[in-house]
Amino acid sequence: MANPANKNSKQVETTGHVWDDDLREYSNPLPSWWLWTFYATIVFSVVYWILYPAWPIGKSFTRGIATVTVEENGQMVEKPWNSRTQLIEEMQSSPSAVKQREYIEKVGKASYEEILANPDMMAFARSMAKGYFGDYCAACHGSGGQGNLPYFPNLADDDWLWGGKVDHLQASINNGRKGNMPAFPVQGEAMDDLATYVLSLSGEQVDAAAAERGKKGYAMCMGCHGAEGKGNPMLGAANLTDKAWSVINIPAAGSLEEKKRLIGGVVNKGIQREMPAFASRLKPEEIKMLTVYVHELGGGQ
């Protein structure tokens, strides 16, 4: 309790209660700004109860009289306000949504040739798809599409396992991909020769005699990678004759021995890679923009 001597302005009444002989409590009125603010909050809450969902009654609750106008089955209808009707309204008619939808519809109707040839639509697709890519693709393929070996292929080069045309890319995004190479138990010298031959396909400087011996072992690889090692985009089989490696990082390997060891690892263990399907998650227009984005990212074919 404050010392009454400090309160020299005017005498304040006490509550009348006395404790321990001389302990009293001042009965100061609340500051009027505080009191009026308090009354205002009460008035506000009454207005709120009337306008918005508020009071529980039995198994239901008061819906409030505020409304939101939304489009339903082609007609504009008034619905009671709640966070969900407001969201519908915002998705339908907020200025940014309207502006965006105009472009989305335009892109949705256009063919890939038309989009790729139209700088305006490309600019829109690029900026929209950048967001989708960041959210759905970048976790695996990297924020710039640079990939992450051995699991996730590079999208930023012009080497495509499953084909680099827009149709191929769209199919990849829609349905996902299952990359599968069986394991082959090749060991010792035979493996060494096979690895040497595979390296020779992409112009690596290797022992020609060993490569020649390895060619026999390559017969089991031809079914998918082709007689000349050109790969097969129908099966997702890699082209072994270019210098782009989509599972192991050959250019980074220090020595020839290291390169052969890496190839041996792939042959012995096989590959199981999976990309999820996005057709049920993204809208067709969104996949379209994403396709264009990835196509552009990697210098698509």
């Binding site: 209660h17 969902p53 709640n82 969900r84 519908i88 759905y136 992450n148 999976e274 049920s280």
Partner: protein, 244 residues
Amino acid sequence: MKHESIEINAGLLIILTLVVVSIGGLVEIVPLFHIKDTVEEVKGVRPYTPLEQRGRDLYIREGCYACHSQMIRPFRDEMLRYGHYSLAAESKYDHPFQWASKRTGPDIARLGGKYSDEWHTQHLIRPQNVVPESIMPPYPWLLKNELAYGDIENRMKALKMTGVPYSLSEDEYQANVAEHGKEMADKLHIPNARATLEAEANGRNLDGDKSRITEMDAMVAYLQALGTMVDFKQYEQGYFANFR
């Protein structure tokens, strides 16, 4: 009773304070048990399979909820980034629900199916392996620890007491068959729990090692189930607005 007698009796003051506070609490809480109009009627929401349920326990053990929410709010920007807003019905079998409130990492209410199993495994071992910019800590022990599932039946029975429709009797089993189909009903049958869990873990082989069932198997199974149960293409947007 005079005000003074309350003020000078500490015991009486405590009791009356409790009465007043509990009235406030009851007025706020009790109606929530009775209001049926806010839980959406949707098809597809089911209890977690035994493997997913164990994954969910690990999710709680590791404190994932401290950085990840599982609650997409009904805002335009959240719809655009994360997908359809979360429904009350989608967490009706979550005890406790994992809505959380802080997003140090992204919301993961609709994580299921977004990335591959392999990605999740690599990401949990060391997030920076796949997302260099990530600040998430690594959870490598998930792959090392064998999953403890000896008490899975008891865990499911406990959840059953809170209202999660795992089945014990033939009638309950048949009800699940009608609701979720035979394949899923088998997984939700408590007497099958252990065999179901082993079959699911080995069938999907999420951690890439068939010889053992690790915590990674369970965690990834749970993460891949998140937000996938309701098929939103079946419903008009206006439908869900009727429940608010």
